[in-house]
């Protein structure tokens, strides 16, 4: 530590900036001057291609340009000869998902992944752009906008579904001096806005219109919008750098750069400094007009990050950042902040000097903040030994604080391990703590797997306690793509060995991928490992494995899944084939029947016929006949039952085809016969009261209407047993109070039902005298007793009861029924209390 860390800092007004080398680029013979360069932020990859708009000397290279993709440390990922049609390559740039967009002169956009493979289909800006040709283009994280040679603006703002939108026509004769964009997330309207420097003013163009700010500050040679979309940095024709608010109403900085030429690059460094690059000079301008110059003897490319700027040259990757407060407080020359004291104390401690203790005593009261500062500062270091020293200082200080939150220390160690791992030049992602926070670990992991850094991604997810499923699944899919020559069994083994690390991993997703890659057998084998039927089944059906899908769905017991498969097969296969598949599987068959009964009765009939089940078919005919009966809601006079009778007869015929259904066949025959009889009765009486009542009801109705002949005929036609007929007639006669006929009936012969029904019928109609006629004829004294009791003749009841022997069971149950009511007692109590609102 001979030289102070702070010696290399630059001070702009009251802030300190540090520019440090991160990598010495591994690439060789790359001259940025000759190339178009696109660099993804958050330490992402670099894409370069020879810039054919410049006159360059071809040394020993091919005349055809190569597109090359490197990591930030200059390790070549992919290089290949650029042979896409479309004319001049206008621009290239990375999206937030690390997809490289390449815009051609004719408006075609190619999309490449980091491996130089076409990631998605190319798209085009359309005929108008094709006709006019693209002059200029700006690419940002989620879209791109291009300016045609005819000064029209087109934009694509959703790369998932690239629909070119034509922005309002700015009506320009000449191309603008320069253009810049305000990304949609920063505008009031939520739409993309393009700033065009025209004349001395600036036009704001969006899809709906053009707004002229009517300024006199121009002509502007260069504009850049700040990372948060609130300021614009402009370089004027007379060499001044202006920082104005986004609506151009306020000027915050006006700095004379003393340069007549506009800078080649103008980028924001954080939110309060700007970097201007001319050949051989890099100038930084701070918020209060201070500036620093850094001389360079080679070409540079500036990459803005959320917390600084990466400076790429042919030899180095450097990082220029605003220093954190913690770092400044520790390393600023002559600093006596607690953090600096603590850092110093560690130094003394290592030298076994007692000053260590003195230092600690001095800062005892503010020790926690000192520890925190050391931890924070460690996070901002790229140098691992410096990180370690700072963390040790923090650990040393923490030993003297009783209540420092433990997690802070642990979390920083964890973060630093991740950062150091990805910063290694082999990986080449020079992230800072702040960038990682903005990017989120999940996105970092996704970026790593995209680069096929699966093991690292897996370990990082493990280390940070994130789910490893996505990494494993991506790995498996990549493996399948890469191992096209490995036999299915072997590959399956390799995949499963790794995938089983995660118990709940979705094998279905991997299988789907294998299926897309044309490896059906592998897909099927992988699916067997999938525990969730809901995942298996849809894939199996889409793979054309309908029967297996059905088996799996049935196994799951989830009827919804079974229906899903049934409907799928139904729509895909010929009907007979569909029938065959479900016929042998009870759950599928039954569910189909349940659905079809309500929604597809005709199809169901075909199904039964093809399955040789006439009896089930008969059921459908019966249902149809009843349903049609119900649909005739208002019957005028007597509706014709012919069609219904026909349906029922058809059912009877179908029933009689199988031996086991003779009972049903007979019933259906009788049913048809009954309907005919009832129709005739309705015609004869002119009353719509017979159809759809039962045989018993029909007899009863006939008797109440006094039509004994009809009743008799039904009795014989349908072989109604005597007993039933007696019950019906007795009660029917009692309802119409035809006591005379009833008595006559009782004397026709000894009633097969005894006299009890007579008694009951009379009691029901409250005819005590009539009832008494029959009570005396009752043979069972018990019955007699009960009948008397019902009539309230307790003496006679007791008399009769004396002659009975109560059955044992009845006696037991009597106790149950005789609930002597507590009510009486209770009522009196309630009355006397007469509590309002109680009852």
């Amino acid at each position: 530590m001979a030289v102070s860390v702070a010696a290399e800092w630059s001070e702009l007004y009251n802030r300190f900036y540090r520019k440090q080398e991160i990598y010495t680029m591994c690439w060789q013979n790359v001259d940025l001057n000759r190339h178009k360069v696109a660099c993804s932020n958050f330490g992402g990859p670099i894409a370069i291609i020879r810039d054919d708009s410049k006159i360059v000397q071809l040394r020993s290279e091919s005349a055809r340009a190569k597109l090359m993709i490197y990591t930030s440390s200059g390790v070549l990922i992919k290089s290949y000869i650029w042979d896409r049609p479309g004319g001049r390559l206008v621009n290239l740039g990375w999206t937030a998902d690390e997809v490289l967009l390449v815009l051609m002169q004719d408006g075609t956009v190619y999309r490449y992944n980091i491996h130089g493979e076409l990631a998605q289909k190319k798209f085009s800006f359309g005929k108008e752009v094709w006709d006019q040709g693209v002059a200029e283009c700006i690419i940002w994280g989620t879209g791109l906008v291009c300016l045609t040679e005819a000064n029209q603006l087109w934009a694509v703002t959703n790369l998932e579904d690239p629909q070119p939108i034509k922005l309002a026509d700015p009506h320009l004769e000449e191309p603008p001096h320069c253009m810049a964009i305000v990304e949609p997330q920063f505008t009031v309207s939520g739409n993309l806005e393009v700033l065009l420097a025209v004349g001395t003013s600036v036009l704001v163009v969006d899809a709906d219109g053009v707004h002229d700010h009517n300024l006199l500050i121009g002509p502007l040679q260069k504009m850049t919008v700040s990372p948060n979309g609130t300021f614009v940095a402009c370089f004027t024709h007379d060499g001044r750098l202006l920082v104005v608010s986004i609506d151009f109403s306020k000027t915050l900085v006006d700095f004379d750069t003393q340069s007549g030429l506009p800078p080649e690059q103008l980028v924001w460094c954080g939110l309060d400094a700007l970097l201007l690059y001319w050949e051989e000079t890099l100038m930084m301008v701070g918020p209060y007009g201070d500036s620093v110059r850094y001389p360079y003897d080679e070409a540079l490319f500036l990459i803005p990050e959320c917390d600084g700027v990466r400076i790429l040259s042919n030899t180095y990757m450097e990082f220029l950042e605003l220093l954190s407060e913690a770092t400044v407080s520790i390393f600023k020359i002559g600093s006596t902040t607690p953090a600096a004291m603590l850092y110093d104390a560690l130094d003394h401690f290592d030298k076994r000097s007692s000053k260590a203790d003195e230092n600690i005593r001095l800062i005892m009261s503010s020790l926690p903040e000192a520890v925190k500062a050391c931890i924070d500062a460690a996070g901002h270091e790229f140098d691992i030994s410096q990180q370690r020293t700072l963390m040790r200082a923090a650990a040393y200080g923490r030993a003297f604080c009783s209540q420092f939150p433990r997690n802070k220390f642990k979390d920083m160690c964890r973060t630093l391990r991740v950062l150091n791992a990805v910063r290694r030049f082999e990986i080449g992602i020079p992230l800072t703590v702040q960038q990682l926070e903005v990017l989120t670990p999940q996105v970092l992991i996704a970026r790593l797997v995209n680069q096929h850094r699966h093991l690292l991604a897996f370990r990082i997810s493990d280390h940070l306690g994130l789910g490893q499923e996505t990494v494993l699944i991506h790995w498996a899919c990549t493996k399948i793509a890469a191992a096209s020559d490995v036999p299915d069994n072997l590959l399956l083994e390799m995949l499963v060995e790794k995938l089983k690390e995660c118990p709940m991993i979705s094998y279905a997703v991997v299988a789907a991928n294998a299926h897309r890659k044309g490896r059906r057998k592998l897909a099927a084998m992988l699916l067997d490992y999938e525990p969730r039927s809901s995942e298996q089944v849809p894939l199996l059906t889409s793979m054309g494995e309908e029967e297996r899908a059905l088996v799996k769905a049935i196994e799951s017991g989830d009827t919804d899944l079974v229906y899903f498969t049934i409907f799928h097969i139904w729509s895909q296969k010929p009907t007979q084939e569909f029938f065959r598949i479900i016929q042998t599987r009870p759950l599928a068959r039954d569910l189909f029947i349940v659905y079809a009964r309500e929604s597809e009765p005709e199809l169901l009939k075909t199904f039964y016929v093809s399955g040789g089940q006439p009896q089930c078919c008969a059921e459908l005919f019966l249902r149809e006949s009843w349903n049609s009966g119900q649909s005739i809601t208002v019957r005028q006079g007597s509706a014709l039952q012919g069609p219904r009778v026909k349906l029922i007869e058809q059912a009877a015929e179908l029933y009689s085809q199988t031996k086991d259904n003779s009972f049903e066949a007979k019933a259906a025959e009788e049913h048809a016969k009954l309907l005919k009889v009832q129709q005739d009765l309705e015609a004869a009486t002119g009353q719509p009261i017979f159809v759809d009542s039962s045989i018993s009801d029909t007899i009863r109705t006939c008797i109440t209407l006094g039509n004994n002949r009809a009743a008799q005929r039904i009795r014989t036609d349908f072989k109604v047993p005597d007993k039933r007929f007696y019950w019906l007639k007795i009660f029917a006669l009692a309802t119409i109070k035809n006591w005379e006929a009833l008595e006559k009936f009782s004397k026709e012969k000894k009633p097969p039902v005894g006299y009890k029904p007579f008694v009951e019928a009379c009691i029901e109609e409250d005819e005590k005298d009539e009832a008494l006629k029959y009570i005396v004829k009752l043979s069972d004294p018990q019955e007699r007793a009960e009948a008397y009791e019902k009539l309230g003749m307790s003496a006679e009841a007791a008399n009769a009861a004396a002659q009975t022997k109560e059955s044992e069971i009845l006696g037991r149950l009597k106790a149950f029924g005789q609930n002597s009511p507590a009510g009486a007692l209770f009522d009196s109590l309630r009355d006397r209390l007469s509590l309002p609102g109680v009852s």
Binding site: Y529, D560, Y563, V594, S599, H671, L810
Partner: protein
């Protein structure tokens, strides 16, 4: 009077279960912004009343509530929210309403919430009706509804018929899903026993769901609060629901119909004579202290209990009035007033009991009971046959006849050949030919059959001691008191499962339909590497080893697949209250039923 039962004393935390359901209901309601009209599946309104207070709807922007019907929605409100079960018929009603709105260009926004989940079938119907793209579809995953401290029901009213007659096993899956969710809250239940086909099916799906779940995050991590689950397929014991329930609660259900924890009473029953008073809904659950005491008693002793209460109150009254104020201390008066608080409950139950006794004292009822008893005892087939025949001839109410007919068939090992066709024919003649399907449904469900093999009822009855003589219903020592002498077969199975296991009665179990099983599930000892082959292993019988070391009573979840009667629940409560019993019972079921409602689901209405 809150219809929502207090669940504070539940053996497992059912309050959390209900709160979850409330939260999800609010979520569903608030998914539609602003004022809305709610159109409710009529079958869901009862269960919802057990989940949330009616005010909750208003608080979440529901302006009006209608039951779903064929009529158009009589509301101007632009936001229409449907809350329905996934049924084809309901989809057609909704479709016609929405189509109506669209024709009139009312520009309403329609949201369709399925309870408990959306289904492919319903979506297909909506698609065919052309409205699938006009509605937003959501789910309200309401599964078990707590009916009381120890009763959970899915309220799938056709579950038994669908599984046994149609072969539609949706209810089985819903039940397994509900149990899985229960397990994710209360831990994986270590012991599972089951009897019957549906029990096997549920257990299979449970195993599968267990396997599909992430072992790290869910049930496995929770210490099991439920020790044992006993799955019983209703088909194993169809005799019990056919018998007339003789507990207080059971009788209320049989005569007055208990639905969703409440009974609708005619004002005349409650002693209100002025006209114009509408039927009152009276909630009956354990929040009513007196009901809690009475519900599980044999009705024969209910009167006595009520009388004692009334007498004691009268004595107190006499002391208060007769002794004069100078002899009363303030605290004595306070005690009396406290007792008076119980007065409305006492009035209510006296009225209900009195009303019930008008039925129970009828000789017709007693005769029927005696026939039931005769059948269960397996005596005198002929008398019973004639009785059923006469009922058909008299055209007594359909389900009432069927109940006895089914009981006759079940206890006689089927109807004698000559009677089988004869009674079926008489039945069709008396009630109409459309009941051809009713009969065939009964046959498919095993409720009615022709005598073929030997009748095993006698063996089952004797082996499991289903008929208990000389039972004192007032001081019962056995569960048979709930049917005055008949011990429900299902409850005997539960008793056997907990005492000595089912292995001991293997021969008897074989006489009943379906397989029986007894297995253990849970975390494998080598924690962290869950076996893909499934975490369920065949285990030995748990016997009646002490279930909990710390003296806590173990919770036993008894699941009745296809429905449970109140009498059975009472019997389990009685068991749980026995001295030396180490278990608390919680009953879960697809539906609270009685014989009549069970058979109604079998009846085809033309």
């Amino acid at each position: 009077m809150a219809q929502i039962p207090s669940l504070d004393h539940a053996p497992i935390n059912l309050v959390a279960l209900r709160e979850q359901a409330q939260k999800e209901l609010i979520q569903v309601l608030s998914s539609v912004r602003g004022k809305k009209v709610l159109i409710l599946d009529p079958k869901l309104s009862g269960p919802l009343a057990l989940i949330a207070q009616p005010t909750l709807l208003k608080e979440n922007g529901v302006e009006n509530l209608y039951h779903l019907s064929a009529d158009p929605v009589p509301s101007e409100c632009k936001n229409v929210l449907y809350l329905v079960r996934p049924r084809i018929a309901l989809m057609k009603l909704i479709s016609s309403q929405i189509t109506q709105d669209n024709i009139q260009k009312l520009q309403k926004s329609h949201t369709l919430v399925f309870c408990p989940r959306r289904t492919i079938v319903c979506e297909k119907v909506l698609e065919e009706e052309g409205i699938l793209n006009n509605v937003t579809i959501l789910e309200y995953p309401l599964h078990f509804i707590p009916f009381d401290e120890d009763v959970l029901s899915l309220e799938l009213d056709t579950a038994f018929k669908e599984t046994k007659v149609d072969g539609d096993l949706s209810a089985i899956w819903y039940l397994a899903r509900a149990i899985t969710l229960l397990q994710s809250q209360f831990g994986v239940i270590p012991n599972i026993k089951g009897k019957g086909k549906a029990a096997v099916q549920v257990a299979d799906i449970l195993t599968r769901m267990q396997r599909e779940q992430n072992p790290d995050t869910t049930a496995a991590a929770v210490t099991p609060e439920i020790d044992t689950m006993i799955l019983i397929d209703r088909q194993v014991d169809l005799v019990t629901p056919m018998c007339w329930q003789l507990t207080y609660e059971g009788l209320i259900d049989e005569f007055l119909t208990l639905s969703n924890g409440a009974v609708e009473l005619d004002p005349s029953i409650m002693g209100i004579t002025q006209p114009g008073v509408k039927k009152a809904k009276v909630p009956l659950n354990s929040s009513d202290k007196l009901y809690r005491e009475l519900r599980d008693l044999n009705f024969g002793v209910v009167g006595q209990v009520l009388r004692n209460k009334a007498t004691s109150m009268k004595q107190d009254y006499n002391e208060v009035t007769g002794g004069g104020p100078q002899h009363q201390s303030v605290s004595e008066l306070k005690d009396f007033v406290k007792k008076l608080n119980a007065l409305p409950e006492l009035t209510r139950h006296t009225n209900i009991a009195q009303h019930l006794s008008t039925y129970t004292t009828k000789s017709k009822f007693l005769t029927r009971l005696s026939i039931e008893q005769t059948l269960v005892e397996g005596q005198s087939y002929d008398i019973s046959f004639e009785y059923v025949e006469e009922m058909i001839h008299r055209q007594e109410p359909l389900t009432s006849v069927l109940r006895l007919l089914v009981l006759l068939s079940l206890t006689s090992g089927g109807l004698q050949k000559k009677h089988f066709d004869y009674l079926r024919r008489e039945f069709l003649h008396a009630y109409g030919f459309e009941h051809l399907f009713t009969l065939s449904n009964l046959e498919k469900a095993g409720l009615l059959r022709k005598q073929e093999a030997k009748n095993s009822w006698q063996n089952i009855k004797r082996g499991l001691k289903l008929v208990v003589e000389d039972q004192d219903d007032a001081n019962p020592t056995d569960v048979s008191y709930v049917f005055s002498g008949y011990a429900p077969l299902s409850i005997r199975l539960v008793q056997q499962a907990l005492k000595g296991g089912w292995k001991a009665v293997d021969d008897l179990l074989k006489l009943l339909p379906g397989q029986s099983f007894d297995k253990k599930q849970g975390v494998t000892p080598d924690h962290g590497v869950p076996s893909r082959e499934g975490s369920v292993r065949e285990g030995s019988v748990t016997s009646d080893s002490a279930p909990a070391v710390d003296g806590r009573r173990a919770v036993v979840l008894v699941v009745f697949i296809g429905g449970v009667t109140f009498a059975e629940i009472s019997a389990l409560r009685f068991l749980g209250a026995q001295e030396g019993m180490k278990y608390d019972f919680v009953v879960a079921t697809t539906k609270l039923i009685n014989g009549t409602t069970l058979l109604k689901s079998m009846v085809e209405e033309g």
